[in-house]
Subunit: 458 residues, 2 copies
């Protein structure tokens, strides 16, 4: 959006030239109008919102954030509210009502006609993040025994208020979903053909049930490249659709959730800047606490070996390197596996394939890292002249072998834990970097100290 | 997809009942047919592919992976190939040609008519991941001075081969993009209205240029809830469109790239299972190496303090806990900031807001963690009877203060580095967990040893 247009609009607003403002606004995209309204102060918000034609006003309303929506709903008259709810799509109304206090829900319900109210109530009862909670009931339904001509008439008559008309849903007399047909196929068909002749019939249509998780809905839409996906009840009767714009939002939401889980953050409801400090702290503290306590085990391993560490110079200095490299190696593979599982590119039956692959990758990475590390230690030894110290080369060997072992262990744990989580029906995303690091740290040190005890004389 | 249907199809194939197989297949969704073909052996693949009616065959082809596509293209006759390329959408053909060896490209080009060949050549020249490289040229164009009736005739006449007909693009005589109009608005308008009366005109339409990055294209489509987005050249002439199915794929691709970058993996071209071991190792080794070397600085910090560490029991044991907690704290905030920047929820101008927020979050988290840690050490002290050792309480104080400081430093670095990267036009995703951990580790230990030197007597 051009910043210049915003300034022009603000000038018109400041000079109270509402007619010009209105005619400028209706030329704009509703998303940009929402952006414009959002950065005004609250009195102006209402003023500009009221200038808009009612259909456009409802479109803009759907793109405002909850605070602003609430402000508008509280401030407008009952009559304006009735017309707003009337113009809004059911799913947008439900989204809004899910976020606001009960008194505002009551106010909205009071001005809504009975039928819409019943639909809204039904939708509000679906579990959060289920297909039922994100669907809209505004789809085009046509009977499968209609002709193309009848269907077009039906679409023209009922389609104007629907969220999409591009996929029409074919039902039988009991409202069972029996097919889908693209508006495109209707347009290109001859008028006297029957809808059931041109529709995609049962085997080819993809539908979800009201209780299915939104992630599953998004996965199907992505896999089958659908513009909308029908939602049916337990008896295969059509109750709603989920449209692609909502699916795109779900995909981003689910990705954000994965990012958060992988950093061991409790999922947030709101954007970062809007989340209060205390909620941010609460979302983070539990896992930090758990991992802090776990890290004391690593500490105990060091403590148990401390008397020996002091005897040979240079052993302690390699601890951070072994821990970090182990953690990073594990993090890399767990990220790939978590992502592969989420996108359906890896399934549980691939476990041994993955393990075998990671073993080979670990060998290549481990040997390279150990070699570079050997060179580094050797060069440092030349500079500091520590080669003359007793068993110096043996120390190098211990560090390099420990490095190789740490990388192998890290890769194997990094690929196994996410798949184990999936197997136990937990979210694989929890088995990401921080969790892997904590486990690999302890293992790497145990191996390191074990090798030192075995190969060095104290 | 029902597994049972797959088994039925396999049975029909085994018994050579091709007519039944064909009539079963054409009832299915093209994505499921592609799934079915993918798990057959190579000879059967071709057999089943050839059974399909040619339009359906092209649809299925677009969902096969490159290996299988290549196998089919090599095996079919020139005539079959001509008809396949004819039925495929340009963007699917280009996607395929970008992946295969030159001799296959030549074979495809040889059987293609001149006009298509020129378009393909033009598309192949656009930079990878640019709007030009992902667009298709199969969109419906209508002149803005047409009537609705003329437009409908035009759509019926030219629309059948187009990738989408649901958004039509309005052009003037010089092919400049002057508006867009939904098929829905055309259907509901009266036949004698002019397209320019019902189209969204310039201020409201969103377009991209051929050189724009695909991530930007996806961001716009997501923001404006578009089903397709027009691509124009430097003189605002319409050259193609990007459709929502490709945009959904781009969104997942960009997310995968972010996940990979955050784990410091070089981005992969292929799915995990298909990537060879050596490529996987190569994608991981560079950053592992860099971070391994960096971790030696942390080691040097420990080494410098080693003589003192040996003097007081219990100091070394807290090192992993401080390092891990610091790393995890930094990882949490950097993930939130990277995600917020990617989704446009946080902008660079919010820096001080973010910093102030994180400072407060860090105080809450740091004080809680330090307190729990104090209790843990106190209880452990009771059990082991170490309270009687000299300056034991002072050691607890040093560890807890270091913990608080480490969390504060980690949170501030964790929010600053991604934003700094963005400021420097680098990818913020690089400033994630592993990178933050390496930096925070060193800082945490410096603070720890600093406090120990200040408060303890050795």
């Amino acid at each position: 959006m051009d910043h210049q247009i915003f300034e022009e609009l603000e000038l018109l607003l400041k000079e109270n030239r509402f007619n010009s403002l209105r005619s400028e606004l209706i030329e704009l995209n509703e998303v940009d109008i929402a952006d414009f309204i959002t950065q005004l102060d609250k009195d102006q918000t209402l003023l500009v919102f009221r200038i808009l034609p009612k259909t456009l006003a409802a479109e803009v309303f759907a793109y405002l954030d909850t605070d602003l929506q609430q402000h508008i709903v509280i401030s407008i008259t009952d009559r304006e509210l009735t017309s707003l709810v009337d113009e809004l799509y059911i799913d947008d109304t439900v989204d809004f009502l899910e976020e606001v206090p009960a008194n505002i829900v009551r106010r909205v319900m009071a001005v809504t006609d009975r039928e819409t109210r019943e639909t809204i109530n039904k939708f509000l009862k679906y579990e959060e993040n289920s297909a039922g909670s994100i669907m809209t009931s505004e789809m085009v339904e046509i009977h499968s025994e209609y002709t193309v001509e009848q269907a077009i008439t039906q679409i023209r008559r009922t389609g104007v208020d629907k969220e999409t008309v591009y996929t029409c849903y074919c039902i039988d007399k009991q409202r069972h979903l029996v097919g889908t047909v693209g508006l495109r196929d209707i347009i290109f068909a001859s008028p006297d053909m029957l809808i059931e002749e041109i529709m995609e019939s049962e085997d080819a249509i993809v539908s979800v049930s009201t209780s299915d998780d939104q992630e599953y809905v998004a996965d199907l839409a992505r896999k089958y490249d659908l513009l909308s996906i029908p939602v049916v009840d337990s008896e295969n009767r059509l109750v709603g659709i989920v449209t692609i714009d909502d699916i795109v939002d779900i995909i981003e939401e689910e990705n954000t959730e994965d990012f958060e889980k992988m950093a061991l953050l409790a999922p947030s409801e709101d954007t970062y800047l809007k989340t209060p400090v205390i909620t941010l702290a609460k979302n983070r503290i539990v896992w930090l606490m758990v991992l802090m306590i776990s890290a004391t085990f690593t500490g105990m391993i060091i403590e148990g070996f401390e008397s020996k560490l002091a005897l040979i110079a240079g052993l302690t200095a390699s601890i951070p390197m072994l821990m970090d490299t182990g953690g990073n190696s594990g993090n890399q593979v767990s990220t790939l596996i978590i992502r592969g599982l989420a996108l359906g590119e890896i399934s549980l039956s691939d476990y041994f394939k993955v393990l075998w692959k990671e073993l080979r990758v670990a060998l290549i990475c481990g040997v390279s890292l150990a070699s570079v590390n050997f060179i580094r230690m050797y060069v440092m030894g030349l500079i500091t002249g520590s080669h003359s110290e007793p068993q110096q080369y043996m120390i190098y060997l211990v560090v390099c072998l420990a490095m190789l072992a740490a990388v192998i262990v890290a890769k194997l744990i990094g690929c196994s834990l996410p798949m184990l989580a999936k197997r136990l029906k937990l979210d694989p995303a929890l088995m990401a970097g921080p969790m892997i690091t904590t486990i690999v740290d302890a293992m790497a040190l145990l191996i390191y100290f074990g090798l030192a005890t075995l190969l060095l004389t104290f």
